[in-house]
Amino acid sequence: MRNIKKIKIKINGKIKTVDNQLKLHQLINKLKIPTNKVAIELNREIINKKIINKVKLKNNDVIEIVHFIGGG
């Protein structure tokens, strides 16, 4: 298939255009995010990090990736 469809996703509040069928772990790897130090939410649902290689992204998916920072 030469004609790869693009989809729009929102990650941490920013809209990004990515390849259709991109898997969640591919996106995380691309962003160089260490998975052992973060939690991932897809459309308001927490995604178990063990299965992120099975999760395919769809148009309009909303992803939140959080970690710990300094706080009181």
Binding site: I11, N12, G13, K14, L31, K32, I33, P34, N36, K37, V38, A39, I40, E41, R44, I46, N48, K49, E64, I65, V66, H67, F68, I69, G70, G71, G72
Partner: protein, 257 residues
């Protein structure tokens, strides 16, 4: 000597001083101040990873969660739903079940919304979290939190970051007398002696952030708080003398020349 252990949610901690990791100039300063404070628990916030700037330092690279207990908080949450979402995410990061719940009700005074706080405490306890609850200094609400499964009661001394010290000692004492749960004064302390007062009132610990992080010399203030907590605890356990209106000479009155 009798062991005087500080136990929260069945876990023993070496220090009764809990410190926040916010408001420091940088991570290096934060890590050094925490080391000097001797704290074995630090509060941390849950926030979005900066996906566009990877050079941003990561807290875990400076403060090792294997050596020091991370206490994820819900700072900035104004509803029960937001707080629950935040702590469920915190648990997902690496299995954290000991958490600090803080649901705020007003952006200016940062007082807790106790209705939302109570609701969240119950839900989180039922989900297996050990919830240390930031609350107002109301003994009735403290009792209700205990009844729905709180692991520690953490009344404010004064508004967060205000540095006003303990405004209502009587209420803190009443809460102390009614609960066997760990009682930790959280928020509003301004100087080391405030921590000593909290400990002398019978609190099991104190939680400090701004008073250390924003002191002109954070490192010496961290040490001052460490010592203040130890001094206050020893003073409390030693049993103070009663207060008298009149004087009572320290030297014998017999044999005066």
């Amino acid at each position: 000597m009798n062991k005087d252990n500080f136990i929260v949610a069945k876990k023993k901690f070496n220090s009764r001083l809990i410190v926040g990791t916010g408001k420091y100039k940088n991570m290096v300063e934060c890590a050094k101040a925490i080391k000097i404070s001797g704290a074995s628990i630090v509060t941390v916030a849950v926030r979005r990873v900066n996906i566009s700037d990877k050079s941003k330092p990561i807290l875990m690279d400076y403060i090792d969660p294997k050596k020091i207990t991370y206490l994820p908080n819900t700072a900035g949450c104004f509803t029960s739903d937001d707080a629950l979402r935040t702590l469920r995410l915190a648990r997902e990061i690496g299995g954290w079940k000991l958490v600090k719940l803080e649901v705020l009700g007003d952006k200016k005074n940062l007082f807790p919304d106790m209705i939302e706080t109570l609701k969240s405490t119950e839900v989180l306890s039922n989900e297996g979290f050990s919830v240390m609850v930031y609350c107002n200094d109301d003994p009735l609400m403290a009792k209700r939190l205990e009844n729905v499964g709180a692991s520690a009661i953490m009344p404010l001394a004064a508004p967060i970051g205000s540095g006003l010290g303990i405004l209502n000692k009587t209420n803190i004492r009443i809460i102390r007398n009614q609960t066997k749960l760990p009682l930790i004064v959280d928020a509003g302390l301004g100087q080391a002696s405030d921590a000593t007062i909290a400990m002398e009132l019978g609190c099991d610990g104190v939680l400090v952030n701004t008073a250390i992080a924003k002191a002109k010399k954070p490192f010496t203030m961290a040490l001052a708080f460490k010592n203040a907590v130890i001094a206050g605890r020893q003073s409390y356990l030693s049993g103070r003398i009663s207060k008298n209106l009149m004087g009572n000479p320290s030297s014998p009155t017999k044999g005066i020349i």
